[in-house]
């Protein structure tokens, strides 16, 4: 492998990894608070991509406005899903909430197919943000730099919010102990909603950047990235935001380099994440940065 190809793969790995990291944070925040895999999180990516798509191509809005609208719509949708499908089941057995989450995810995917059609559409790439960069013999898209940059900015912002602001403190309290937090006058419902706002907005940013990087969008586009990002969150230690970032980067790099070093295994690319998941769950179920939680009877 020559140096240039290595650098090329490294760049691909970083940008894929940062997309995974961004989406994984949404999973980890929701899981930290509700102890629930938000299966619908994956489909929020798709919703954001389509809103942006229609904003740019049908309503001919400037790209930044379309992206903004997509983020707002996705955040509202995320909060509404929690209110309608998860909140009424808060005292129900966990399996019920999971089934409800699967139902919402399936509903969104099929509504997408009904409303838009299953055929993939090509996502527009605004020239202001996507151009070719040539350094010596290496040529790459500006996205390879923009995506990790935006990811880092958002990660810093989220980390600051969770650790330094009042609502962040409330989130950490609720994720530590739901009931005690509510006894301490934390408005649990508000905190949960805020979590969904943040998580869904990150999913929206992730979905838009995903569509810029891989400009083919279809109603099932979120499924595999969603599953892999959940795996990334588990790998890093679910509930931990730095863990989600770490997991996302490891997974993205791993996938890119697996295919680069062993092209004959490229058919198994999608299985790679699951194999990692299984090893993690067997040998370090709490993840790389996760805390040990002992269940109390």
């Amino acid at each position: 492998m020559t140096g240039e190809i290595f650098l090329q793969n490294l760049a691909n790995g970083i940008s894929l990894g940062s997309l995974y990291a961004l989406i994984a944070i949404g999973y980890t925040m929701v899981y930290g608070i509700l102890r629930l895999i938000n299966f619908a999180h994956a489909d929020l990516l798709m919703v954001a991509a389509y809103v942006a798509f229609y904003g740019i191509l049908v309503f001919t809005l400037p790209w930044w406005l379309s992206f903004l609208i997509a983020i707002v719509v996705t955040a509202i949708l995320g909060v509404s899903i929690e209110k309608v499908a998860y909140r009424p089941l808060r005292d129900a057995p966990r399996i019920s909430v999971l089934i409800s989450a699967i139902g919402v995810s399936f509903l969104l995917e099929n509504l997408g197919i009904v409303a838009i059609g299953a055929r993939p559409k090509s996502f527009p790439r605004p020239e202001d943000i996507v151009w070719n960069i040539n350094i010596g013999d290496i040529s790459f898209l500006s996205l390879t730099i923009i995506i990790p940059l935006i990811t880092v900015i958002l990660l810093v912002a989220v980390t600051y919010m969770v650790n330094k602001t009042k609502i962040g403190t409330a989130m950490r309290a609720v994720s530590r102990d739901f009931e005690t937090a509510s006894l301490m006058a934390v408005d649990v419902n508000k905190v949960v909603s805020a979590t969904f706002v943040v998580g869904s907005s990150l999913a929206a940013v992730g979905g838009i950047m995903w569509s810029l990087q891989y400009p083919q969008i279809d109603p099932l586009m979120g499924v595999f990235p969603g599953l892999k990002c959940f795996i990334a969150a588990v790998m890093g230690g679910i509930g931990s935001i730095p863990g989600a970032m770490l997991g996302g980067f490891i997974l993205g790099m791993g996938e890119v380099f697996l295919v680069a070093f062993m092209p004959e295994l490229s058919g198994y690319r999608d299985a790679f994440a699951f194999v990692i998941l299984i090893f993690i769950l067997l040998f370090k179920p709490t993840g790389i940065l996760g805390e040990n939680v002992v269940e109390k009877v």
Binding site: A92, I99, F106, I113, G267, A271, L281
Partner: protein, 355 residues
């Protein structure tokens, strides 16, 4: 008459009646209705077996479609004639011992179940240490891995092209025979000491362990048996539609089975049977919403995917507002029927005088 005797007679009557219905169906039902009924039988097996894992043992496993995939392929490869194998595997010829094998259908279906059970055992061994959502995502992952492996091992499975010309089975007797046998076996299992242990684990794992139940052994057993019947159903599915390919066994299947057991009631075999038939029939009846139609002079174009929207909404409504489903954890039994029609219950010993 003794109530016990009445119940025996009723059971015999029911068996006779179902035989008559099957006989009648075999004679007079059209091709399409037979096919739908056969599909219903397959979904009954799937529903009942996933209910064993999810409803009775409380393990949220989403790998059912993967086990079906294994079963369908095993039975298809075992029963296809060597000539059609030669024809279908044109990308890469099938590897040596498999190209000559030409088994009859029944041993192949049972072998399919056993191989799926073996896979269930292998997968369950690491995965069943996990709980709830971790188990869900791990089994979902295993299901996908099975599908990806099937797509990539071209010299065994013919890859993404799939298999065609699988020997067809058309008879209602076979499908419903397997379905009834499945229900009977699962009913015996659930009413045995194993079954009580499963339910104890579902209700409270820690308490069950404190009572001396070997959690891991029972979970593994339930999971393996569930995989066996999923493999069986997958094999039958292959013989019903005579072709299989890896994309068939996407998560969609697991979703349909999930809908069946939630609708029927988590922890009720009767519910799975009713909902299995109901969902399959609905799936066919609702095809009309995807056809173009003419409503009072208004042309409505066909909307593909509408059925799945309806099913997703149905699942959400049931889980949000009617969590017990149709049957809750209740089962069909004759006592309930007899009480309803007013046949007196035998009084406790020494209190009443009765037949």
């Amino acid at each position: 008459m003794d109530r016990q005797k009445i119940k025996t007679f009723l059971t015999l009557g029911l068996v006779l009646l179902s035989c008559l219905v099957l006989f009648w169906g075999e004679q007079y039902l059209g091709k399409f209705s037979t096919r739908v009924l056969n599909l219903a039988a397959i979904f009954v097996i799937l529903g009942a077996s996933m209910n064993l894992v999810l409803g009775f043992t409380g393990m949220f496993s989403l790998g059912h479609a993967g086990f079906m995939c294994v079963g369908a392929y095993v039975s298809a490869i075992l029963t296809m004639s060597p000539e059609s194998k030669e024809m279908i595997y044109f990308m890469e010829p099938i590897i040596s011992p498999l190209d000559k094998i030409h088994w009859p259908v029944f041993p192949a279906i049972l072998t399919a179940g056993l191989v799926a059970a073996f896979f269930g055992f292998l997968i369950g061994f690491p995965a069943l240490r996990l709980r709830d959502d971790y188990l869900a995502i791990a089994t979902l992952g295993f299901g996908e891995i099975i599908r990806i492996i099937v797509t990539n091992t071209i010299s065994i499975t013919n890859g993404s092209l799939g298999l065609k010309n699988i020997p067809p089975i058309k008879s209602l007797w076979v499908y419903w025979g397997f379905a009834i046998a499945t229900i009977w076996i699962l009913k015996q299992l659930i009413n045995s000491s194993w079954g009580y242990a499963f339910k104890a684990i579902r209700d409270n794992e820690i308490a069950a362990e404190a009572m001396g139940i070997d959690i891991f052994k029972h979970k593994l057993m339930s999971f393996t048996i569930g995989a066996f019947f999923a493999g069986l159903a997958g094999a039958l599915m292959g013989h019903l539609i005579t072709s299989v390919d890896p994309t068939m066994f996407r998560f969609l299947f697991t979703f349909q089975i999930l809908l069946i057991i939630v609708l029927g009631g988590l922890g009720s075999l009767t519910g799975s049977v009713i909902a299995g038939v109901l969902v399959t029939v609905m799936m066919e009846v609702l095809r009309f919403v995807e056809q173009p139609m003419n409503l009072f002079g208004l042309q409505i174009p066909g909307i593909p995917g509408m059925r799945m929207v309806i099913f997703a909404l149905l699942l959400l409504v049931v889980i949000l507002f009617y969590r017990q489903g149709l049957m809750g954890t209740r089962e069909f039994n004759w006592d309930w029927v007899l009480d309803k029609v007013g046949v007196g219950r035998r009084k406790e010993k020494g209190v009443g005088v009765d037949g």
